[in-house]
Amino acid sequence: MGTYDYTILGAILCGIIMVFGGIVLLYKGAIRLEVASKDPALTVEMFQKELKFSTRNPALGLFMIGLCFVVLSIYFGQDMAATAIEVRGRTEGVDEQVTIRLQSQWPIDAHEGQVHQVVRPQLDVLWVVVSAPGYTPHYESFARDELKRGVDFGSVTLARAAPKIEPSAARIAELPTGVEAPPLSEGGRFGSGGSL
């Protein structure tokens, strides 16, 4: 969970506290519903004044602010919820270890290979990448609407592009004494592998 997720959860918590706190205060008699003024005690306008809440009762205002917190947090937090996506498909004619990856792509402006940009990931398009060493990878894109039905890339046949390369000690530099490289499966401590 990142800072954004914590902010959303914090806002939901604040909303719930305000709503239930209001109920408790009403129950204890600290605030009363019948205390109302002629002028609106609270007016909330949202979405460029298209949505407007107004109350003459300050006690109800507490509920409304709390509810606004909850509703808006849920609205803005929709994208953070993990969407379950069913992936189906198969590969044929590949005699190497096949890797199937799902990846989203967001345009990043890089200057001389250097990047510093804030990206808000969204699942508008999801790419399925089927690859195997020595074979030309297969790319297939799925739009957001299609994802609800799952990702089915059918039957994929990869074309061999380069012959197998056998390991050779001449190509593998020794690590310093006492240093041991973790296995490939332990990747992801830093950097982000991507494409050019």
């Binding site: 990047v115 592009a161 390369i165």
Partner: protein
């Protein structure tokens, strides 16, 4: 008051450190075989004795790879190429800034 100031400064320093880490550079290039053919589908990964292993990059149809957000460091990185899970190449590289590194697998 002084305690608060110290805590605020520490928080700012922490944020700056995180930003510096996030502002890494890119290491990119291509992987070719002895016949200068591009080698697609292999995994390129960076290993650093302190930072550990980077996220993997899979070469595309042209044998190109890219690993972004790599923190520059005086100590060398080791760039590795895997054929599936089999290590087939490792070489030390210095990453002081954006680096274009082409790998030829003879």
């Amino acid at each position: 008051m002084k305690q608060r100031l110290k805590l605020s400064l520490m928080a700012i320093l922490l944020l700056l450190t995180q930003t510096a880490w996030a502002q890494g550079v890119s290491v990119y290039g291509s992987v070719t075989n002895a016949y200068s053919q591009p080698v697609p589908g292999v995994v390129v990964s960076l290993f650093h004795p302190v930072y550990g292993r980077s996220s993997p990059s899979y070469t595309d149809g042209w044998g190109r790879y890219a690993i972004h957000a790599v923190p520059p460091d005086q100590a060398p990185y080791y760039i590795e190429v895997y054929w599936g899970n089999q290590l087939i190449y490792r070489d030390p590289i210095q990453v002081f800034g954006p680096l274009e590194w082409h790998i030829m697998l003879n």
